[in-house]
């Protein structure tokens, strides 16, 4: 593991306030989810159904995307394809320029984070303003989201109060959550009314009807997608489902898994721009579909399950590692277990291969995943690709290969297939246990917080032989 990456983790582990805030929110989200999905039979049934819907959609991805484009176009929504984040950014910029727009108000979108859109537009003289409360906090603090559903979960009320007081000096300092939300609301209201362009993410895209679904709690998504004259939606290509009837079960699963809600406050279904007889709604609706490595993931049958994700965040909420290090330590757009499998596949094992080592493979993520993504199994597969030269199409495969490590495993395997050698090594270790104990003591990785394990005088092999336990 490179020093750089380890440094981030070491740093994260010293951030007591961030850790406390993260643990606090994560524990609350766990409890909410548990309460919402307490009926085991119900959960299992809903999970099987959601998994089937997502698997079906991902398997038919090419056909469904074509159907989606046809239907959206018929509905008057303009579809743009982007193979890379650079292309996606250019598309958004071009639309902005066509309208002489220098300001865009944004709803929450992890794909726009993936694109680095705010940064890109700023470099081209366009101001972006986040309207999701959590995202706004992050933007004011000039940070990255530390969670995909609760982007500012690493900040507590006091930190947010100080931040708001700095940026909204007209508002008196307060730690009252409602008052803080009101001050943001007040600030945003005028921005919604005057923004020439609104930009949002998408939760589900329905192919058969050409409908974009947007799940949110604050109403800002609805404002962004209905008040400005132009609405741009950005989405990863994998968010498509075939039927409108696929949406209710997925929505039910998404909100329960994410926040324990039965339904969010707002659920938007965007099916066209403003029609001639309508009084409101955007005059133009654009959808930017981003690939950025997703079709490559689609091409590998085992890795394909990664694309089932509906971005509920349950895996990070239940991950003991995420809980301790927080989202920023991952140094990725999407943190936690799903980020651990997604980011190396998207951006390459040469960049994010080390992430595959940040897992105990405990399986808590797989247990709570509403669409049954076998995250530990995929981590295991990526660890394999990380250390071998192979024909697989993940960029950077083999980049984690270390000669000494490979030799150690070869020797280990050799001794394990030669029981005589294995037992002789065992005997030697136990004979020299006091010396080996002293050596083990030096492995500070273990002994920093643990005592040295005590080696036995007589191995199990020897003891059971002495007890005349049958050998064959």
């Amino acid at each position: 593991m490179t020093t750089e990456f380890r440094k981030h983790i070491q740093h994260a582990l010293t951030q007591r306030e961030v850790q406390a805030n993260t643990k606090n929110v994560v524990n609350r989200l766990r409890n909410h989810r548990r309460a919402a999905l307490s009926d085991q039979a119900d959960w299992q049934r809903l999970r099987r159904q959601s998994t089937a819907i997502r698997t079906h959609a991902v398997d038919k991805l090419p056909q469904l995307l074509e159907l989606l484009e046809d239907k959206l176009t018929q509905n008057g929504i303009r579809v743009h394809w982007a193979e890379t984040t650079e292309q996606a950014n250019q598309i958004v910029l071009t639309i902005m320029q066509q309208h002489n727009a220098s300001f865009v108000i944004k709803g929450k979108s992890m794909v726009s984070e993936e694109m680095g859109l705010n940064h890109y537009l700023k470099a081209h003289g366009i101001e972006c303003l986040e309207s999701d409360l959590g995202e706004l906090i992050i933007q004011l603090a000039n940070e990255q989201p530390s969670h995909i559903i609760v982007p500012a979960l690493h900040k507590n009320r006091k930190q947010i109060a100080r931040l708001f007081h700095t940026y909204f000096p007209a508002t008196p300092y307060t730690e009252d959550i409602n008052a803080l939300a009101q001050s943001a609301r007040h600030f945003l209201r005028h921005k919604f009314a005057t923004a020439p362009v609104g930009l949002t993410g998408v939760n589900f895209m329905v192919a058969e009807t050409g409908t974009l679904c947007l799940v949110e709690n604050e109403g800002n998504g609805r404002m962004c997608s209905s008040v400005p004259p132009v609405h741009i939606a950005v989405s990863g290509i994998e968010k498509v489902v075939e039927h409108l009837s696929d949406v209710p079960p997925l929505l039910r699963m998404l909100t329960r898994s994410a926040t324990g809600q039965s339904i969010t406050t707002y659920f938007n279904m965007i099916s066209s721009p403003r029609k001639p007889d309508e009084k409101d709604g955007p005059l133009e609706v654009h959808l930017v579909l981003l690939d950025n490595g997703r079709s490559r993931i689609y091409n590998d049958l085992e890795l394909r399950d990664t694309l089932n994700c509906i971005r509920c965040g349950a895996c990070m909420n239940h991950c003991p590692i995420y809980k301790h290090i927080g989202g920023h330590a991952y140094q990725t757009v999407i943190p936690g277990p799903i980020g651990t499998i997604l980011e190396p596949q998207k951006s390459g094992l040469n960049l994010y291969g080390e992430l595959t080592q940040v897992s105990t493979l405990c399986g808590a993520c797989r247990e709570v995943c509403p669409v049954s993504i076998p995250i530990p199994k995929i981590i295991n597969r990526l660890r394999w690709e990380y250390i071998r030269q192979s024909a697989c199409n993940i960029p950077g495969a083999g980049s984690g290969k270390k000669k000494t490590e490979a030799i150690v495993w070869k020797i280990w395997a050799w001794s394990c297939v030669h029981p005589v050698v294995y037992n002789r090594i065992g005997r030697t270790i136990t004979n020299m246990r006091s010396l080996i104990g002293r050596i083990l003591k030096k492995i500070s990785a273990w002994t920093a917080v643990r005592s040295t394990p005590k080696l036995t005088k007589t191995t199990l092999h020897e003891r059971l032989k002495a007890l005349k336990i049958e050998d064959k």
Binding site: I321, H324, V417
Partner: protein, 258 residues
């Protein structure tokens, strides 16, 4: 709780015992106790002396060729069609869940599948197959249990250890906070990611200390070693013990050596 109904005819005469390398070198008493428990239930135990390691460390590290080589050597040990009992959910999970994946495209896949099918974690075997009845002869004691993630998420047998302990009337069973959370061992993870592992095990140790238990019991020696050594280093007097040794000692074990 859904126990497999058992009767005299479904109880096997003989089983293979797969001791695991950690028990071999660090906790052999756990292995010996497990063998005694099985024998006391009238089951003949076969311990192939050629056994070494299930291959899990290499498998989890991405070294599939080495894992396959080692796993294949283990396949050769279990030719009789009898159950294989493993005193570790992690190693049992390797055989039961991951051998089918590891041998997926291999000529000896059917052999691996057959062995996976016959593999049981010890507490699972004692409860579900042997329907064991335990009489507690020990002094009153309070224990905290740590069920491994392999027992919980992979083998789905995390509650069997509770079922066994509940049979012991002098044992008070304390429940640590966040008991379902990983202790941070993860095999090579503890060495490769020492900082995260330390944070995880210290939190776990704290939760166990908070229960005021005298002893920590579990079905996996990896987790026990991790938490137990952390408890010791922090100066706590809580000792750690594998469930097999605990059960054998409390049910007249050492005195009824057979």
């Amino acid at each position: 709780m859904n126990l497999t109904p058992t009767n005299a005819s479904s109880k096997p005469d003989s089983v293979y015992f797969y001791g695991t390398c950690l028990i071999d070198l660090l906790y052999p008493q756990a292995g010996v106790s497990a063998v005694h428990l099985l024998k006391r239930e009238g089951v003949n135990v076969i311990y192939p002396q050629a056994q070494t390691c299930c291959g899990q460390p290499a498998w989890n590290s991405g070294y599939r060729d080495e894992a396959l080589t080692v796993a294949r050597a283990q396949l050769a040990l279990f030719s009789k069609p009898i159950p294989i009992v493993v005193p570790s959910a992690s190693c049992a999970g390797m055989i039961k869940v991951h051998y089918p994946e590891l041998f997926n495209a291999q000529p000896d896949k059917s052999k691996a599948l057959d062995i996976a099918e016959r593999t049981y974690e010890l507490t699972e075997f004692l409860t579900d197959i042997l329907n064991i009845n335990l009489t507690d002869l020990g002094a009153p004691v309070t224990v905290a249990v740590h069920s491994s993630c392999s027992a919980r998420h992979e083998m789905k047998v995390a509650d069997r250890i509770d079922i066994l302990l509940d049979q012991l009337h002098n044992v008070t069973h304390a429940e640590p906070a966040n008991k379902e959370e990983c202790c941070g061992f993860g095999g090579t993870f503890a060495i490769k990611q020492p900082e995260i592992s330390a944070a995880m095990v210290l939190e776990k140790a704290k939760a166990i200390e908070y229960t005021n238990a005298q002893r920590l019991i579990g079905q996996d020696c990896g987790c026990l070693m991790n938490i137990g050594c952390a408890l010791e280093k922090q100066g706590h007097t809580i000792t750690h013990q594998h469930i097999a040794k605990f059960l054998w000692d409390r049910t007249g074990g050492p005195h009824r050596d057979n």
